[in-house]
């Protein structure tokens, strides 16, 4: 799966959790915090994405991502293993 496809999945779930972002143009450099997601929102978005990818990964492993693009990178690496 390409990074862009994984990024789009993160965006899809970010919009589900934060419907006010529906028209927003997401960039790899965006951070969920700056987009208004609190800690619970962020863990929800990540968990929904993990389920969509059937990836059984503890959330802690994803914590080093500093923006949405890096999160997509880490998920892609895990997905490709």
């Amino acid at each position: 799966m390409q990074k862009k496809e994984i990024f789009d999945l993160i965006v899809k779930h970010a919009i589900e959790v934060l419907p006010e972002l529906e028209e927003y143009q997401f960039q790899y450099s965006d951070t969920l915090i700056k987009l208004g997601a609190n800690s619970l929102d962020r863990s929800e978005i990540v968990m929904m994405t993990l389920q969509a990818l059937s990836l059984n990964v503890p959330l802690l492993e994803l914590a080093k991502a500093t923006n949405m693009g890096e999160l997509a990178d880490i998920l892609q690496q895990r997905y490709s293993r």
Binding site: E20, L40, M47, L50, Q51, N56
Partner: protein, 408 residues
Amino acid sequence: MTIAVTGIGITTSIGQGREEFTQSLFAGMHKFSVLKREGRQLPDDLEHDFAPFIGAEISELRYPDDLSSKQLRTLSWSGRVAAVTAREAWQNANLDSVDGHRVGLILSGSNFQQREQAVMHRQLHGNETFTRPAYGISFMDTDVAGFCCEYLGVHGFSCSTGGASASGQFALINAINFLESGSLDACIVLGMLTDLSHWELQALRSAGALGSERFAKQPEYSARPFDKDRDGFIFGECCGALVIEKAAHASARQAKSLALITGWGTFIDGNRNPNPSLEGEKSAIRLALRQAGITASDIDYVNPHGTGSLLGDAIELEALAQSYLLHARINTTKSLLGHGLAAAGLVEVIVTIEQMIAGRLHPSRNLQKPLNDRFFWVKSQPEICKIKCALNLSLGFGGMNSAICITQ
């Protein structure tokens, strides 16, 4: 101390909001049918000989514009109904004019979101690692309290008060205690929709508490408290909200008093089991009357607990008779709404107040052969009745008894 009721919110299967609800109430409407909400029936792939569960469900909940889909996403069904209902009571009482630090919010009941959990378990079976982080907060009943406090701006105090099927009244009495102690000026009490799943329904059926095998094919006849053909309680979704404050506080801020709560009594049987106690019920009634400074002869109307249980209804009528209340008018709210469990006690206080305000008594459904003909039953037609003093009873498993006196 006299406690004033200054706001009411109500959501039931027969109507949302005071106006729609009271119209349906006096018209004797009902919505009993086979339960349809997800997780309420035994799984489709399970072979069994049981009849489907019957009850009364809210068909469509209308949300106010200031509740966003983001806010609602992780809020349970009980929480959604509570938020809408609490808002109505809040606006009804004009509580925006009271400092939120002096306002409390108390929920009734415990473990009232069971169906949500049953649905989640079914959806995530085999995928347990993907359990939503939000569930870590929402499985606690007080998540609903947190939501409502944030939504309405409550900063005084908040908690939940459990007391089985007497939870609604127990929460109200708890709220009164906060007003009496001086720690709050006003309190909103929420009678919580108890969201049963097939797990609780099946257990209650097996325990002999839940009907209706007898009317499995005629749900409209299933809810029949105090009737000789009753076969257990019938579940009903409902939620009530009451704003209470000291009468002096209400009068100082020129809030309209809808009713006064003048007496309340509780009695704990010291008995874990579900069986009723004649002495416990009589004690709660006696304590409430004594605190109100009245005698049984002053009571014009009784809103009983009456669930439709075989033993419970009979014992309750005996308790009322032995408390010298045979002269009072009496009807059965659960014959229209079903049994709301944690909500029931508060919803029935609201029904009592609405009847006092309207000067009318709502009809009872399916009361064709009353268990005891010595009582002054309101049967299939509403009646005009000026009520000066009313008594409201609530009884719960585990020896919980409570009674409340209400005047206008």
